[in-house]
């Protein structure tokens, strides 16, 4: 018996709900919200199920769906998951589901918002489960336009206007993706004579890329590094990130910081690294250096911020610096750490942004000097804020600790003393995360906030879903690491072989 096309259902559930929403009269706010919640819940439940039944011992691509799509380009509709993409898929759906509830109290134009949100979630999912580079590209850019529209309509203008933030976000990422596109098209065109036929699946391109000359691999990798690097907010291509998050509505910040920028890291690992090992080897020290620079720079920048969203924005740049450092080590431990850290940071960043969204919604400000003592009025909010803050500084027992620890081990092995700078970043992270928490939540309660109600009902969903994962991931890290390792290890072995052969030539 043929099994269900799980991945297609997961992919399309939110999109189909979005299409249905388009036919509901826009005054019917509640049905629209519940439809969005249903669509994202179906995807979440099914991806959690897949996570449970994925055979980590066998590894490799599972739940494969493959249909020829465009013959003369060798494109096929190729969906599958492995140990790297499955955590990312699950992450997307957790955050997508939470983001729907984080937007529960939206004030205007509900129908448009939830349609765009659902399309956005489907788009992000697509990048993580596509194993054909053409399909990957389709989804890669599909997310840009909904985000732009959401930022300019529902965003907020503080230090920068929402129009500026939206446009900066959009153009930065699109120009980055132009380099990526050139790189991918060139890789594809060069692969045709090697493979003897056009084939755009990741595996085929990796096979062809491994046989290319070192020179080709280097410049192709550089193009992809610019593209994926600007998406993962690699220093110095990071400046869209704090401004963009600050202007965006809560749900967009959650999805963007939580999963969207992880597409950059995911692409670097699954496409660039495995297709172009010699290029990766060449650029690895530079990636690590940029990663360390990002960690240090963004941590200091976060220290100077007084707007809560900017703190988390810079903090996410800083955390992505660890990921770049980890990718730069080009060894199994490092890549494991990179993937795990992306997952961990996704959960904590989404929780952080949802907590800030609540604070902003209730107090109408994100400016730390105007806040204080909120823990007294809103204890549950304080719990979610502090959970995210502790995870962010890598407190043992929460999800952030083990991935960062892994990255430091790998970093030491590869680069020795330089990695110390990155570890120094943790101290600064602790400083700004704890200070932000202290000044916002603790201290004498302010009278003007006395009538605020704590989060309840739908508002609790992000805390329940993401908070649970934060703790579970910290207490049972093997849940995450076994999965990631099953995806990374076989691919890294292939990569090592390729490098050995390349070294001999």
């Amino acid at each position: 018996m043929k099994s269900l096309p799980f991945l297609t259902i997961i992919l399309l559930a939110p999109a189909i709900c979005a299409i249905i929403m388009a036919f509901i009269p826009k005054e019917q706010v509640n049905p629209i919200k519940w439809l969005a919640a249903t669509g994202t819940f179906i995807s979440l439940a099914m991806s959690a199920y897949l996570y449970g039944v994925y055979d980590t011992a066998a590894g490799g691509l599972q739940f494969v769906e493959r249909v020829p799509w465009i013959k003369d380009l060798g494109v096929s509709y190729f969906l599958a998951v492995d140990g790297i993409s499955l955590p990312m898929l699950l992450l997307t759906n957790m955050i997508g589901f939470s983001a729907v509830f984080a937007s529960w109290n939206l004030e205007s134009r509900h129908r448009e918002f939830f349609i765009l949100l659902c399309l956005l979630i489907s788009g992000v999912m697509g990048t993580f489960i596509a194993h054909d580079i053409f399909i990957f590209l389709l989804f890669y850019e599909v997310v840009v336009i909904p985000i732009y529209i959401m930022v300019i309509i529902w965003g907020s203008s503080k230090r920068v206007t929402k129009e500026y933030a939206g446009m900066k976000l959009t153009i930065y990422l699109l120009v980055g993706s132009a380099f990526l596109l050139v790189g991918i098209i060139a890789l594809f065109v060069k692969s045709i004579p090697i493979l003897g036929e056009p084939n755009m699946s990741f595996a085929a391109l990796a096979q062809a890329g491994n046989q290319m000359s070192a020179f080709d691999q280097k410049w192709l990798f550089a193009l992809m590094l610019i593209g994926f690097g600007s998406l993962i907010s690699m220093w110095p291509f990071h400046s869209w990130s704090p401004d963009g998050y600050a202007g965006a509505p809560t749900a967009v910040s959650m999805i963007h910081a939580g999963v969207l920028k992880k597409i950059g890291g995911y692409g670097l690992i699954k496409i660039a690294l495995f297709s172009l090992p010699l290029g990766a080897k060449f650029w690895a020290p530079y990636m690590a250096a940029l990663g360390i620079a990002g960690v240090a720079y963004a941590a200091f920048a976060a220290l100077a911020q007084k707007d809560l969203k900017y703190i988390v924005g810079y903090s996410s740049v800083s955390h992505m610096g660890y990921v770049m450092l980890a990718i730069g080590t080009v060894n199994v431990i490092g890549i494991n750490g990179a993937v795990a850290n992306m997952f961990a940071h996704g959960v904590m960043a989404a929780l952080f942004f949802s907590a800030i969204g609540v604070i902003y919604e209730k107090t109408k400000t994100r400016w730390i000097p105007d806040l204080g003592g909120l823990a007294r009025q809103m204890p549950l909010l304080a719990v979610s804020f502090m959970l995210a803050a502790f995870a962010s500084l890598g407190l043992p027992g929460l999800i952030g600790f083990i991935p960062e620890f892994t990255i430091f081990i790998a970093g030491f092995k590869a680069f020795g003393g330089f990695a110390v700078i990155a570890i120094g970043g943790i101290v600064i992270t602790a400083l700004y995360a704890l200070r932000a928490g202290a000044n916002t939540l603790f201290g004498p309660p302010r009278e003007e906030y006395n009538n605020l109600r704590d989060i309840r009902g739908a508002e609790l969903v992000p805390l329940a879903v993401l908070g649970l994962v934060l703790i579970a991931g910290g207490l049972l890290p093997s849940l995450l690491f076994d999965m990631v390792n099953s995806g990374v290890e076989p691919l890294m072995n292939q990569l090592d072989n390729a490098l050995k052969i390349g070294g001999l030539i």
Binding site: P68, W69, I70, K71, D72, L73, V75, E112, F134, L137, L138, F139, Y140, E141, V142, V144, I145, Y148, I149, I152, I153, E163, M167, T170, I171, L174, V175, S177, A178, F179, L181, V182, I185, A186, F188, V189, K190
Partner: protein
């Protein structure tokens, strides 16, 4: 020699239709003139069906002067589809602003016929005839708003520049004829292939590029486009933007890829530079525009640059990419311009700032404009992405710089498209009453949008057809 007239039945039908519409205009009572639009569009659909049904019925007429192959069939499909959509989109506009329905639709049919002749022309003289038939028809159409000074100014500019460019082109053709001693494109190709590179040939090539550069509005021959686009009646602008451009590309391909493949090294780099400059200038100058038609004019210039990319390598892949891009381009352009002209009917304005809140007054119009613009920008999942993928695939190996310029500039183009999106989606409308979209316009909008989405996600079958058509082009 026996002539096989069956292959040119569509052309004969077009002539009959044009004359018939004119006669009907004389004998019909005045109040039923608006029905001519429906009559013309359904007749055109019939002729389109004829072309599609006779897809494999290929052959030549007049001793090889007129050639019907799948390449020309495909271009005819493009022109007829564009004409049908333009007629659908222009009915309300013509009835309200222009009058003279019989003349309007009849001339539109004749200009389409001109394009069809261009696609099939296999020698310089026939090409020129088709080109002139199209151009002269367009001159009339551009100044169809007889009482509007802007439209007349546009018409005058178009007359002058079209005349000059035709002269330049003709001179170039005569120089090539001087070298080759024949006007048949295929024979020219064979003779030039063994010919040494002559200074005369170089002058001829430059003249041809300049003449056709005017027609496709490539930089630096683009100056006429914004003024003419702005002044012309909006449906005609869209027809000018797709029909005239793609027809000129049809003969550009025929002359260069088939007639001068032997010397492609000398003009490939020229085309590459022309494409690069056109893409950059078109996109950058579009940014500060405040009038939607001028914006689309500059964006159309940039689009010509993208299509030129397919010429650079003079290969089957390039021809195929041009055909694919041209096909999706008509739907994008017609989609945008149909919305623009319908909005003009209601508000009398083409200023971008007056589009405020369109998304709340008519989600369909706003969505169509977004989808069409993003198709032109090449953002997935819309068809433009696949089109650009095909185009830039051909140059990425030998002209990497062109691919980088092209793709970066197409991301820059998103900026000015998004400025329109910003106005339509963010702002509140001054007049918030919903817009009721009339049936033919609604059909056009939904159809163009669906094509952009479906071809973007599932381009396989179309690309197979085009592959075969492009192959047929080289089979002579």
């Amino acid at each position: 020699m026996q002539m096989d007239f069956s292959v040119i039945i569509p052309e004969i039908a077009m002539v009959s239709l044009g004359v018939l519409v004119l006669i009907l205009g004389l004998i019909l009572p005045k109040k039923s003139l608006p029905r001519l639009g429906w009559f013309t569009s359904f007749s055109l659909i019939g002729i389109l069906a004829l072309v599609v049904l006779n897809w494999n019925n290929v052959g030549t007429v007049s001793g090889g002067l007129y050639l019907i192959d799948q390449f020309s069939q495909f271009f005819k499909v493009i022109f007829l589809t564009a004409a049908i959509l333009v007629v659908f989109g222009s009915m309300a506009y013509v009835d309200k602003h222009l009058g003279g329905q019989a003349e309007y639709y009849s001339i539109l049919v004749f200009s389409t016929l001109g394009m069809m002749v261009m696609a099939s022309a296999n020698d310089f003289i026939t090409m020129y005839l088709g080109l002139e038939l199209m151009t002269i028809s367009f001159i009339v159409l551009v100044c169809f708003r007889r009482n509007d000074s802007e439209s007349l100014e546009a018409g005058m500019k178009y007359v002058l520049l079209a005349g000059i460019s035709s002269a330049v082109l003709l001179y170039g053709l005569s120089l090539i004829y001087g070298i080759a001693g024949t006007v048949l494109v295929v024979e020219v190709g064979m003779i030039l292939a063994v010919q040494q590179s002559l200074p005369l040939l170089l002058v001829g090539v430059v003249m041809l590029v300049a003449g056709l550069g005017f027609k496709i509005a490539a930089v630096p021959f683009h100056m006429w486009a914004p003024d003419v686009y702005q002044g012309a009646p909006t449906p005609i602008t869209s027809f000018l933007a797709v029909g005239s451009k793609m027809a000129s590309f049809a003969i550009l391909i025929r002359i260069f890829v088939l007639g001068m493949f032997g010397v492609s090294l000398s003009w490939g780099i020229l085309m590459a530079i022309l494409a690069g400059v056109t893409i950059i200038i078109g996109n950058l100058v579009a940014i500060p525009q405040t009038n939607i038609k001028r914006l689309m004019a500059y964006s159309g210039i940039a689009q010509a640059g993208y299509i030129l990319v397919g010429m650079v390598t003079a290969s089957q892949a390039g021809v195929k990419a041009i055909m694919f891009y041209g096909f999706i381009y008509i739907f994008a352009v017609v989609g945008v311009f149909t919305a623009i002209s319908y909005y003009y009917n209601l508000t009398g304005s083409d200023e971008i700032k007056d589009y405020a809140g369109l998304s709340q007054r008519s989600p369909l119009m706003a969505a169509t404009m977004v989808v069409s613009m993003l198709t032109m920008a090449g953002i997935p999942p819309f068809a433009g992405f696949v089109g650009k993928f095909y185009l830039f695939m051909t140059v990425v190996e030998n002209y990497l710089w062109l691919a980088i310029i092209g793709l970066i500039m197409s991301m820059v183009s998103v900026y000015y498209y998004l400025m329109v999106v910003l106005v339509m989606y963010r702002d509140r409308p001054q007049d918030s009453s919903p817009i009721v979209v009339s049936l033919p316009v609604r059909m056009t909008l939904i159809f163009t949008m669906l094509v952009s989405v479906v071809l973007g996600v599932y381009p396989g079958p179309l690309s197979e057809i085009i592959n075969k058509a492009a192959l047929s082009f080289f089979m002579h």
